[in-house]
């Protein structure tokens, strides 16, 4: 799988920016920049592949990758039932010397 298929898009949200700013403690290293960044990734991507992809795309050092499968929500239009798509979220904790400019 191509690395650009693994990482779909960065998630620019309130929660994400909060983590990016504050989460360097999770790196358990000296306070520097670092931080945790949130991405939408391919549902079949594994933690090691995500780590590789991020390190390559943004040229940073990754400390930890946490992932979560977000199930699609049930939706109903009149009588037809359906769900929104399921997707995978990855929170990538960076090394204290690394930094990503999301915006």
């Amino acid at each position: 799988m191509d690395i650009f298929h693994i990482i779909k898009r960065p998630l620019v949200t309130e929660k994400g920016t909060h983590q990016a700013g504050k989460h360097y403690e999770a790196t358990r290293t000296k306070a520097a920049r670092g931080g945790a960044y949130t991405f939408e990734v391919h549902p079949e991507a594994s933690k090691p592949t995500i780590r590789q992809a991020i390190e390559k795309i943004y040229n940073v050092r990754v400390v930890t990758v946490r992932t979560a499968n977000c199930l699609g929500k049930a939706r109903r239009v009149r009588l037809s039932k359906g769900t929104t798509r399921a997707w995978k979220k990855a929170v990538v904790v960076l090394d204290a010397n690394s930094h990503i400019d999301l915006f």
Binding site: L11, V12, T13, E14, G16, T17, F103
Partner: protein
């Protein structure tokens, strides 16, 4: 009590805001860099430079404000980071800020170099072709971009109010023509009232001038019947019938009786609706059916009562008073005109060319439209353009001059028109036109009506003040406007009496 306090607080905060604005302006005035050079008579070119610090400060303020209620997806309202807000709304804020900066820095610059500008400035803008144009400030800000780095620099041209010294305002020589209302004038007025109440009565016998004729008309062009009409009302004087003017109708009809027939031949004019008939000869066969003549009622009790008076003496008295009032206002206007003339003649000033040019163009355009509406062919109107322009120039120059003089006098003498006076004037207009007060005011405030009404009231006030100080000399004035009018009235009266005699004759005939 509580209300009072909050009211006070409100006043306090609004005051603070005002201070802030003032502060802002003063700061900007300090910060900007202005250079001024001449650009023609009463015209200056200002080059204004707003330093980067001032721009940044404003940008920061703007974004801080914007951040508080910016809606960005993924964030609650007001929670988005500043960087993101800047990126998202940067362009809009920049455009807004440039408009704000240009106008406020212009105002600050005007204060800084201490000039009195006239109207809005024109801004130099570089167009895509690389040449620079002068555009009005509203349009200029649409094209201007906030520089990403460095200072904002722009140059504009502005016209100045002319500097001049007022002539001596005391003892302005004014001539006051002595005219009085004579009994003849009153009689003329009464005759006019009588003729207004006149009625057309059928008469036997020959048609006289100005009689009303009921006739059948057949109109032929080139032997072909174009129009046939029965019971047409025509007067025995030059008339327009189906858009063709029959100049000699009076002479042709005179002396004819009922059931007589006449034919009139007229060449059809160039403005006739049917193109094929233009320039051809039209033949009107007129068969007289009935002759009517105006009967003017005598001055009897009925007429007096209808006019709303108790007796003749009272009527004459009232008419005299009304005429005197009218004469008074005419004389007063004349005297005001004399003062205006004195002021313009005694004051020397240079007029801003751009403004007077614009004004002249406007006047010329209006005159042209008037001429076109009066039916003058376009080629003819174009020929007269130079003539019109010369005339308009003269008028406009004096008008503008008077405008500046009045403005200065108003400033010097601290004459102003209060809102109540303005409302009073509007109310009197409303009364005259039979409209509601607010409708008149709305109509006026749509255009420049309210402003010109204000100017008119102010000028009247100034002139009245000057008039009280003026040196008024009484002159015998048989040659002013009013006597001429009176003379005309007299003529009319004579005509009426002649008519009256005629109608008396016809009365005898009919009995």
């Amino acid at each position: 009590m509580v209300d009072e306090q909050t009211g006070l607080e409100e006043a306090q905060t609004s005051l603070d805001e005002g201070d802030e604005e003032l502060d802002d302006k003063a700061k900007l005035k300090e910060a900007i860099d202005v250079s001024m050079e001449d650009a023609g008579t009463l015209r200056k070119k200002l080059t204004i430079t707003v330093p980067r610090d001032a721009i940044d400060e404003r940008l920061r303020d703007q974004f801080a404000e914007l951040r508080r209620d910016a809606q960005v997806p993924g964030f609650r309202k007001g929670k988005a980071p500043l960087v993101l807000v800047e990126k998202r709304f940067g362009g809009e804020v920049g455009d807004q800020l440039v408009a704000q900066l240009v106008s406020s820095s212009y105002l600050a610059a005007v204060e800084k170099v201490d000039i009195k500008p006239l109207g809005d400035p024109l801004v130099w803008i570089e167009s895509e072709g690389g040449d620079t144009n002068l555009v009005s400030i509203d349009k200029a800000v649409l094209d201007m971009k906030l520089p990403a780095e460095g200072a904002l620099e722009f140059s504009c041209e502005v016209e100045l109010k002319p500097e001049f010294t007022l002539p001596e305002l005391d003892d302005i020589p004014v001539e006051n023509p002595k005219v009085s209302i004579s009994d003849d004038d009153v009689q003329g007025e009464i005759d006019r009232l009588r003729s207004m109440r006149g009625r057309y009565v059928p008469v036997d016998g020959k048609i006289e001038k100005d009689d009303l004729v009921v006739a059948d008309v057949v109109m032929k062009v080139g032997g072909e019947v174009v129009k046939e009409e029965e019971n047409v009302q025509l007067a025995a004087r030059p008339q327009v019938y189906s858009n063709i003017s029959i100049e000699n109708l009076g002479e042709v009809l005179e002396g004819k009786k009922a059931d007589d027939s006449v034919t009139v031949k007229v060449t059809i004019g160039d403005d006739y609706s049917n193109l094929a008939h233009r320039g051809q000869e039209a033949e009107f066969a007129i068969t007289v059916r009935d002759v009517k003549r105006i009967e003017i009622p005598p001055l009897d009790d009925e007429l007096i009562e209808m006019a709303g008076f108790d007796n003749e003496a009272e009527m004459r008295e009232q008419f005299k008073e009304a005429l005197e009032a009218r004469l008074d206002s005419v004389i007063k206007r004349g005297m005001r005109g004399q003062i205006g003339k004195y002021l313009t003649e005694k004051t020397e000033m240079e007029l801003p060319t751009g403004m007077s040019q614009r004004q002249i163009d406007r006047v010329v355009a209006r005159r042209k439209v008037e001429l076109l509406q009066a039916g003058m062919p376009e080629a003819e109107v174009d020929k007269h353009t130079d003539e019109l322009r010369a005339k308009a120039t003269e008028e406009t120059v004096t008008e503008l001059k008077l405008f500046f003089i009045m403005e200065k006098i108003a400033e010097d003498m601290e004459i102003d028109v209060a809102d109540e006076e303005l409302n009073g004037a509007i109310a009197s207009i409303a009364g005259q036109q039979g409209m509601r007060f607010d409708r008149v005011r709305d109509q006026l405030s749509k255009g420049e009506g309210l402003v010109s009404l204000y100017l008119q009231l102010r000028d009247d006030k100034i002139l009245d003040v000057l008039l009280t100080k003026a040196k008024i000399t009484e002159v015998e004035g048989p040659k002013t406007k009013k006597p001429a009018k009176a003379a005309a009235g007299g003529k009319k009266a004579k005509k009426k009496t002649a008519k009256k005699a005629k109608s008396a004759d016809s009365d005898i005939e009919s009995t």
